[in-house]
Symmetry: D2
Subunit: 179 residues, 4 copies
């Protein structure tokens, strides 16, 4: 690691460095379940992203990404919402940095409900209302909106990457929308 | 109590009936701490109502009121926000009915941090961002906006009715804005 | 209502008075999901009560009961835990009076996930570890202990009175034990 | 970094590696506020550790430490409680991995209420009742028990390292013990 070379952004790891770090430390993530709410604050729809994973399969996922060095949780959450939902989604960030759930992802299954074969990641998860238009960018193909009942169904839950179906159910429970 | 007289709205107690009930049962209340937030969801200002109490003293209070028979918590919260802040406040109701605090008001001091000489009341308290213009109605004289630091100060806390200064501090703590 | 008769315990309503009140006001309840935890605080088992309801059917329910005039939420929770689980259950009461869920019970279905044909009740629900021996008293026949997966199953959820299966799932979600 | 040398425990960084990582990534911490509770679950005392910091000053702190690669949050919390309070403290770990607060520590002041000159750390904080005898080990000199009112006082809050006095107040607020 050329750590002595001046680096304009020390939080930006090279791919090799990131690969090494992933075998050494738990990485901190933020995760968001995008929702639409009615005028009374009640969740009416839940969004999931369709994405082609590394082996070309289509899976469902949530808004998710790493927290960078020097970045606040709010800034990280906002950055990943914009990256995954586009600049016109107008997310309403949570008042509190306390998440509705903390998801612990391990490379091997069985330790928790969540797996990530690349790394040990700990993710702080939030329910985030969006009031604008979502236009997925990067590797996400599209966003699908579902009712809370559909979102909590076994069919949807089993399609979600890394156990995130469980996180979706926890999200719904946290807003009183799990039946 | 003329309970046998047909009543178009059974949740509407007469003053005599309400007075009796207050000596018999804990009454259910909802309470809101109005806040203003910036684009990142961070609380920048906290609102408190100035009100003349029954003996003519000016005190500070929060948005507060009873839940009626047949009314949901959301409906009660919305009704009292509109009553106390006017129809143009545009409150963003919480996603979850779980309050940041449950305040227990007793007629006698010492049982909890909260007192209400009229009754035993249990109040579910929420932090509610408002995005419009507040125009207090009814018996509230005006709404004062303060920074989180001012709102948590001993001076303000001691001016609040029934121990609600403690509730204000709990509200600030729940959104990570208590210093 | 003989409200003018001196009453040594004003929080104690006669049956007639309670019946009247139930048509006039939302009643405040506390509710507990008894659990067993391992040495690391993880929920291993969840308890549900078997009870014969008013028409003789066997249903499942949770620890539940009314908050009396002058009683704190903690005292009410402790009283109902002792009433339903016996004096040797040794419950660990929650540190915080903030519930994991607020269940709104209405006489008519469709307003919320919860129904109670007798009344409008608002219930603050807590997960409570018990460390001793449970010996149901009063009208409860027995307590059944289940794994979190069993407790969240459609079969168990559908057997629970008044929609409390949903509350059970919310309880499991709140402790990270819903799959 | 000698990352190519086989390492029996890849989560164990050398001092040099840890120093490098601290300039590149936010590190994940867990933090505990030890408390004593009465039979009704109410917090009666709060513990703070006295510690000599790197320049020999005596400061107050909480139970705190890093989450290692492959370690669950519960395991990390238990390990640091044992390290700081000794093996006979008998802590009751929280039912839920959701913290009462997320403290963001930055090397420079002003970004949040918390600073850590060594690193950017994100800490999940929990209130943990202890039922046994605390016997601080390692670099902690002793544990001081205080009432909630003392613990929240300006004097104590200002003595706490890295802004943890704010975290202490948030802890008290989360259990309804902040006045």
């Amino acid at each position: 690691m050329s750590v002595r070379t001046p680096d304009p952004n020390p939080g930006w790891l090279t791919d090799v460095e990131l690969a090494e770090t992933r075998r050494r430390l738990p990485l901190l993530y933020v995760e968001a379940v995008p929702v639409r709410v009615d005028g009374m604050g009640q969740v009416t729809e839940v969004g999931a992203l369709l994405r082609a994973n590394s082996v070309g399969e289509i899976t469902r996922t949530l808004v998710t990404g790493r927290v960078m060095y020097g970045e606040t949780l709010r800034d990280a959450l906002f950055r990943h919402l914009e990256k995954d939902l586009g600049p016109m989604a107008f997310p309403q960030l949570p008042l509190s940095p306390v998440p509705f759930a903390v998801a612990e992802y391990f490379p091997l299954p069985g330790i928790s409900a969540f797996t990530d074969e690349r790394q040990h990641a700990v993710s702080l998860a939030y329910v985030v209302p969006v009031t604008g238009t979502c236009d997925p960018r990067q590797d996400a193909l599209e966003i699908t909106w579902m009712t809370p009942v559909e979102a909590a169904s076994d069919a949807i839950v089993s399609e979600m990457e890394g156990g995130r179906g469980v996180l979706l159910r926890q999200a719904l429970a946290s807003v009183g929308a799990l039946r």
